[in-house]
């Protein structure tokens, strides 16, 4: 199907363009502007060139060290999240009912965490995990496990990760479920007739057919876990120490806490670029691999 060329279609896109441009371009210019200037307060700004960037990217400076630490934590966090949520989401999707009322019921239960405001996710887990009043914390503590997410780094990480798994695995599961639903029955019947076992069915039919949605799921989960702010902010506030201070939390601390606009802006730009580049590379590579397989 060839689409006709018609530049009048721009009129249809114009509202979207203006709305997003208003929200994206003006703030972006502000950020770029801040990132090359310094201020001593009183709204007096001085040209600082790439000063903030060099400081930010040099790990020996205070800012640079802080930046690389947060970035490392983000990378670690995203890797763990992907390693848990993607396989778990696939597993849950495979276990979901295929027809009848259980489908609607399961969909509603699964989708529920997705519609909880992000700070409430934090609150829920705070209440759930506290050792004094929380079911989880109290139980673990009762079992003799040294669990305290406000003081122990490992507990804090475990809590933040469990919370993210609770919050987002359903998204992966729902996406995979959509992918599975699009497989015609004939494929399963053919596999049965061909004598394929459960594992072979998964590897030769289900996984390849889920390829596209998995691509999207990984992309979304990477992006969102890399941008995470609210949930750890509510639960751990970035602590204990700086152990759960990811880039977004650090950024907000610098920008709104210390009003170091230049530093924050330079950090914003680099942060945004990292996400863009990673997503772009991932997407390009994956679709290319896909195309190669096709030809």
């Amino acid at each position: 199907m060839v689409k006709p060329l018609d530049n009048k279609a721009w009129w249809l896109v114009l509202p979207v363009f203006l709305l997003v441009a208003f929200n994206a371009i003006v703030p972006m210019m502000t950020v770029v502007n801040y990132s090359v200037q310094d201020t001593f307060g009183n709204n007096q700004f001085f040209w600082n060139g790439v000063g903030w960037y060099t400081e930010l990217l040099d790990p020996s400076t205070e800012l640079g060290g802080r930046f690389y630490d947060s970035l490392g934590r983000n990378a670690l966090f995203s890797s763990i999240i992907l390693a848990i949520e993607i396989p778990l989401g696939i597993l849950v999707a495979l276990c979901m009912p295929k027809k009848g009322w259980p489908v609607a019921f399961t969909l509603v239960v699964l989708a529920l965490p997705l519609l909880v405001p992000w700070n409430v996710v934090g609150t829920i887990w705070q209440i759930f995990a506290r050792t004094d009043i929380g079911l989880l914390g109290h139980t673990l503590f009762g079992l003799g496990i040294d669990y305290n997410y406000t003081q122990d780094v490992f507990s804090a990480w475990a809590t933040v990760i469990a919370m993210d798994v609770w919050h987002w695995t359903s998204l992966v599961a729902l996406l995979c479920y959509a992918g599975l639903k699009s497989i015609p029955d004939a494929f399963y019947q053919a596999a049965k007739i061909d004598g394929a076992g459960r594992w072979a069915v998964f590897r030769t039919i289900e996984l390849p057919k889920m390829g596209r949605v998995l691509l999207i799921a990984v992309l979304l989960r990477f992006m969102d876990s890399f941008m995470i702010y609210t949930e750890p902010f509510v639960v751990t506030g970035g602590g204990p120490g700086n152990s759960t201070t990811v880039l977004s939390i650090d950024l907000v601390k610098i920008a709104l806490g210390q009003f170091d606009l230049g530093k924050a802006a330079a950090m914003s730009i680099v942060y945004y670029l990292i996400i863009l580049v990673v997503c772009w590379v991932y997407y390009t590579v994956m679709t290319q691999v896909d195309d190669e397989k096709r030809s």
Partner: protein, 357 residues
């Protein structure tokens, strides 16, 4: 390789079937002989696919049993039945090469590597897939994909039967012919039972040596193509096979004469013991219904004449009935008044849609 027996088989998708309408498959008993080429013919929704799935084991029948060579397999799952099936739409394993696709059913059954290799090459050669063996299956066109599906169905030498569920629907017409003849050739060569489901009579009649016609969940006739044509056991078969379909007329039959719309029509035999209270009809194929000039035979009105090239059929009215009649060369009715002459030997009498005598 096996003979397949269906014994008092019936199936309902509802848990407690009460009336006949609750059954997707009416009770039936029949035998599929080893090595036969069968076509299962019928309109959509007549139960063909249900029957096929019962034979392959994808559906467990609610009543009766299925036997492969005297062994009851009714409750055996598909993978232990030794059946191959080809579906309407190509089913291929995306990530594998054509070779691996064809080898998949053999490898799953633990066949030795050299044997797999030899068998796959043989089948690929028969289906003209030899040059594509190394390619990724998902890059192929729809035709080639369906060939791979066919190949996977045929690759196992020891299967009890290969079932085809309208396998040529997605293939374009030119290639359809070729693939169908190829299947027929394969059947002769491989000596396996093939059951071919279709709603297309040409496909069924050219492929099969036995055509099984289904209607409303039941088998109405099974026989050679010429038997179906010359002696339809059910008015449905008369309608469904042949183009145009058989002329079926409500009639009063007594002795050797039928009366249609008040006109007497001679029959070849005597029908003295027709069931009382049954709906009586007579049926004649248009090929044996000859159009003649006005005044001869039964008077009819000609509505139009369809010229099919080599032969012509007239669309006619006998009272309120619409019929089709063969127009012999040289006959050119003027106006709309004409007559028809029925060949008495080819007139069948039906009581409640089933052939009598």
């Amino acid at each position: 390789m096996a003979r397949i027996d269906l014994v008092e088989l019936a199936h309902s998708y509802k848990p407690n079937p009460r009336s006949e309408a609750d059954y997707a498959l009416q009770p039936m008993t029949m035998t599929w002989r080893q090595g036969g080429a069968y076509a299962l013919l019928g309109p959509s929704g007549c139960g063909k696919t249900t029957l096929l799935n019962i034979i392959s084991g994808l559906v467990v029948p609610s009543h009766g049993s299925v036997h492969f060579d005297d062994k009851d397999v009714t409750r055996l799952p598909t993978e232990r039945r030794n059946i191959a099936q080809v579906f309407q739409f190509p089913v291929i394993y995306d990530t594998m090469s054509v070779f691996d696709n064809l080898a998949f059913p053999l490898r799953n059954r633990g066949m030795a590597r050299p044997a797999v290799e030899a068998r796959v090459r043989e089948i690929a050669h028969l289906l003209d897939l030899g040059s594509d063996l190394g390619r990724r299956a998902r890059g192929l066109g729809a035709d080639a994909k369906q060939k791979v599906s066919l190949g996977r169905g045929l690759v196992r030498a020891d299967v009890a039967a290969v079932l085809f569920d309208e396998p040529l629907t997605v293939i374009d017409p030119a290639l359809k012919w070729e693939l169908r003849s190829k299947l027929k050739a394969l059947h002769r060569r491989l000596d396996i039972t093939m059951i071919y489901v279709t709603h297309d009579q040409t496909e069924a009649l050219t492929f099969a040596d036995t055509v099984v016609v289904m209607h409303d969940g039941g088998i109405v006739q099974s026989g050679r193509p010429d038997e179906l044509f010359d002696r339809p056991e059910h008015t449905f078969v008369g309608h469904f096979i042949g183009s145009p379909g058989m002329n079926v007329m409500p009639a009063e039959v007594s002795g050797g004469t039928a009366r249609v719309d008040g006109h007497p029509i001679e029959l070849a035999g005597r029908f003295d013991r027709l069931p009382t209270g049954a709906r009586i009809e007579i049926g004649v194929r248009p090929e044996y219904t000859r159009l003649a000039g006005a005044g001869q035979g039964v008077p009819v009105k000609v509505e139009r004449i369809d010229d099919l090239g080599r032969i012509r059929f007239a669309r006619i009215r006998l009272g309120a009935l619409r019929l089709a009649a063969f127009v012999p060369p040289g006959v050119a009715p003027e106006g709309d008044a004409a007559g028809v002459v029925f060949d008495p030997a080819q007139i069948h009498v039906y009581a409640d849609s089933r052939r009598v005598g």
